[in-house]
Amino acid sequence: MNNLISVSNLSKSFGSENALSNVSLDIKRGEIFALLGPNGAGKTTLISCICGLTTQTAGNIRINNYDTISNFRETRKLIGLVPQELPFDSFESVYNTCQFSRGLFGMTPNDVYIKEVLKSLSLLEKKDLQIFGLSGGMKRRLLIAKALSHEPKILFLDEPTAGVDVALRKDLWELISNLKKKGVTIILTTHYIEEAEQLADRVGIINSGKLVLVKDKADLMQEFNKKSTIITLRKKMQRLSKELKDSNISLIESGNKIKYISANGESNNLQSILNYLSKEKIDYSEINTVNNSLEDIFLELIEKNEH
């Protein structure tokens, strides 16, 4: 039994609005799963349903083979949640708030462990400070410390790196990779595609409450392995001549550039474009080839989904 979390036919509606419709998803033990999607897609709602913050309208969720509603004690004690917002009881001290989180999960206070967690998030010097004395980025780290304070097996990170500086983002990525090594299953949402590309084993894309696609990151990159070649012309071209008419070739920037998209290493067309240009004595100043990033793939999928 490899699936740690299995969501089946999950729907959630707020009044007449469907935030999630018929989502089915399996999360494997020990993987990092990245959930991508535009604002309002339903990422936070999906996480809230799994963690028990809201109750689904239909469908069910099983974690470690326990149902999240009828067996909530078994499922919730496995989960640590870092929410998207920064909610705090601002007058509590950093250290106490972590012990509070630990206690809520029924665990005895553990000074050594909590200090270790605070240290790994470089918050140890601030442990006696009241929370309102922390900066925004520190608050976000504190949320992560709180989520880790009961030694969870599953960690949900809802946009963990929003508002966090670049150096710290790298630190967080390292922390996440280290947690994975310790066997923690991680589900994260993010708007930084770079982050998913760096961290995730699998990627899920959600749009308007529907799960559009779930794939291994490597496969996804492979499948959409495309290159865009952009040829900058010295002189404007009014329209593409007949010889160049192809679905992969287009004029961009009002005729100043030719864009050519090639899939899976195919490059016959590039040759014919160049041949054509030299035959017609059209000068070009630059040829630029870029690999498609996950970001392009994402935008493409979202666009397709909307049509």
């Binding site: 963690c51 028990g52 913050l53 909530f72 004690r73 078994e74 919730r76 004690k77 989960i79 949640l81 929410p83 917002e85 909610p87 705090f88 009881d89 601002s90 007058f91 509590e92 106490n96 509070f100 989180s101 206690g103 809520l104 999960f105 029924g106 665990m107 005895t108 709180k146």
Partner: protein, 131 residues
Amino acid sequence: MNIRATLTIYKFEMSRFRRTIFQSLVAPIITTSLYFVVFGAAIGSKIESINGVSYGSFIVPGLIMLYLMTESINNAAFGIYFPKFTGSIFEVLSAPVSALEATIGYVGAAATKSTIIGLMIFFTSNFFCHA
């Protein structure tokens, strides 16, 4: 039963009480003292005692109950509603804690606090009236 969670909530609420000792304990005592002075001593001295009970002593149980009840409602409501308002309630909701366990924690703490306040008011009343 996740008794530890109940205890954690209880301790958390009690530490909030200690942190805000002035608002939660000193303030009600000062207000009731004013009641004792105004009603008990000033007006009370003009009112005859009935069956040997002076007006000042007569209002003591009423004032204690007044504070006991408002404080227990305020404290329990604040303890639950404020986290809901700021959003930090997510923690309790995502923890393996049942509604009953959380309620016992919050209400238990509120009851303890208001009992302490009631007792303190009872002791202060001794300065103002002698039964």
